[in-house]
């Protein structure tokens, strides 16, 4: 049931679909200015009605934003907040215990994750710790050292986006060692050339599951596409399978954190 079909079924949300379309339009995203709306409108993982163990349905979003239709920026804000309330509601990926997941992120995002509310380390301390861990020379002890240095520390503040590695022995074979190719194939959006980008691979702790992302997980990120795979930034092609899961800690690393050049 699309947004427009939901309006037909429920007169209390009449007109909300067009308001959503207008509020989510991004004129600077020239590939498709209505990409975010279309993601939410067409995602097959999002059902028609409220259901147990189902992602929130479109009607729920429309009911939430309906009181604010006169204020487009507020409609968009409420949409973002709605998405934030409905993370990791897609199908759970089975048998992830032995799966190696790869991730690419910025160095500074790792610093901020390490410098969490319970950490007495300042931002410069966290930066120095991570810098030393990444700059350690290649050796069989590099990964154990990084694990020891980052034990107990979250490697993300919010839910993590990762890809299941096709070859656990070489988890980055599909994205390659080059920074821009990795960013492109994973559809990470614009990252300043001045930002250091790193790769890491991990396994999930026993109590953590992984889910196929829905349009609610993607929120207002216009580089995302429905279908369970990343979408390349540089051409119209899908990339790798992708999942979302809770943050993991340093002890869950299975490869060392390395800078992509």
């Amino acid at each position: 049931m699309s947004f427009h079909q939901a309006e037909i079924a429920d007169s209390s949300i009449a007109g909300v679909a067009n308001v959503l379309l207008d509020s989510l339009r991004e004129h600077t995203y020239i590939r498709n200015v209505n990409q975010i709306y279309e993601n939410m409108d067409a995602d097959p993982l999002i059902g028609d009605t409220i259901g147990i163990n189902q992602p929130a349905c479109r009607v729920e979003l429309m009911v939430r934003v309906a009181p604010h239709v006169a204020d487009l920026p507020l409609v968009r804000a409420e949409t973002e907040l709605f998405c934030r309330d409905h993370l990791q509601e897609g199908p759970e990926i089975p048998d992830v215990a032995d799966t190696t997941f790869g991730r690419v992120c910025t160095f500074e995002s790792l610093v901020r994750a390490i410098a969490d509310p319970s950490n007495p380390a300042g931002l410069d301390d966290a930066r120095a710790l991570l810098r030393d861990a990444i700059d350690a020379p290649p050796s069989p002890m590099r990964l154990p050292r990084q694990r020891a240095d980052l034990v107990g520390k979250n490697l993300s503040r919010f839910q993590m986006w990762s890809f299941p590695a096709a070859d656990p022995a070489n988890p980055f074979a599909e994205i390659g060692p080059v920074r821009q190719e990795a960013v492109d194939i994973l559809g990470l959006g614009y990252i300043s050339p001045l930002e250091e980008v790193v790769s890491l691979a991990h396994r999930l702790p026993a109590e953590t599951g992984a889910h196929r992302p829905t349009a609610w997980d993607a929120g207002c990120f216009n580089c995302w596409r429905i279908g369970g795979r990343t979408y390349r930034l540089d051409r119209d092609e899908y990339g790798l399978l992708e999942v979302v899961h809770d943050p993991i800690k340093g002890e869950h690393l299975v490869t060392s954190i390395d800078t992509l050049l």
Binding site: C105, A128, L188, I191
Partner: protein
């Protein structure tokens, strides 16, 4: 929704408070996928602010710190506020944070010890030193959970004092790890040589009589342990 640059002082303070606490529309526009922290946009605003707006923005930040001393913030939100101050090098906040540190008001709140740790951590980041007596007194207040902070505060005065306190601060492996995590930053900030740190560590080792297991952090490639003073094995934390 208004642009912060066009807000009244009251609106700006409310926006900042809600942003840092991840509440309502003020907390949107966050790049969750890129793991953006709530304080980052306010930080960008601080760095680019000019003239009267900069003055009003500073007043809003300081007012929020004063508010947090009267009615407790949760530890996640207060952390965002003080990380903004730290990342923005907002030295104007030193006086109000110092007053909070000396008053012990935060300790009367739920999770007060953690709030206090966050305030003291920020003071150190702003270059404040406190006194040796102050840091030694903190050991009793927050030293059990955050020995690393006490060590860093002592080291600001005298690295030798910090190391001599290590046996009483590092009561278990977790405490020792917290202290060791600070070594890479300490080496850079105080320009300490690896040789000097090793000497200090060696001198301290003897005081861990009966607790040598704290010194073993892992195993090297030939089964050698990672320990503080083993010059032939690799150490944790970049040593």
């Amino acid at each position: 929704m208004k642009d912060p640059l066009t807000m009244t002082p009251g609106e700006l303070k409310d926006w900042l408070s809600n942003r840092l606490r991840m509440r309502g529309p003020a907390s949107t526009g966050l790049d969750l996928r890129g793991d953006e922290a709530p304080y980052e946009r306010p930080l960008h605003i601080w760095k680019t602010a000019k003239g009267n707006f900069q003055h009003e923005f500073l007043r809003a930040i300081l007012a929020l710190v004063e508010d947090a001393a009267v009615k407790a913030w949760d530890t996640n939100s207060f952390d965002q506020l003080v990380r903004l101050i730290e990342a923005g090098r907002i030295h104007e906040a030193t006086a109000v944070l110092e007053a909070i540190a000396h008053s012990r008001i935060l300790l009367t709140f739920r999770h007060g010890a953690q709030l206090r740790m966050q305030a003291l951590r920020t003071l150190l980041a702003l270059g404040w030193t406190g006194s040796l007596d102050f840091w030694q007194a903190q050991a009793e207040v927050i030293g059990v959970q955050w020995p690393g902070l006490i060590f860093k505060g002592l080291a600001r005065h005298s690295i030798e004092s910090a190391f001599s306190s290590l046996p009483s601060l590092a009561v278990d492996a977790k405490a020792m790890r917290q202290v060791l995590d600070l070594f890479p930053g300490l080496m850079r900030a105080q320009k300490l040589s690896l040789f000097y740190l090793r000497e200090l560590s060696r001198n301290t080792v003897g005081h861990f009589r009966g607790r040598q297991s704290l010194l073993v952090l892992g195993k090297g490639k030939r089964g050698q342990p990672f320990i503080i003073d083993n010059s032939e094995s690799q150490m944790g934390s970049g040593l």
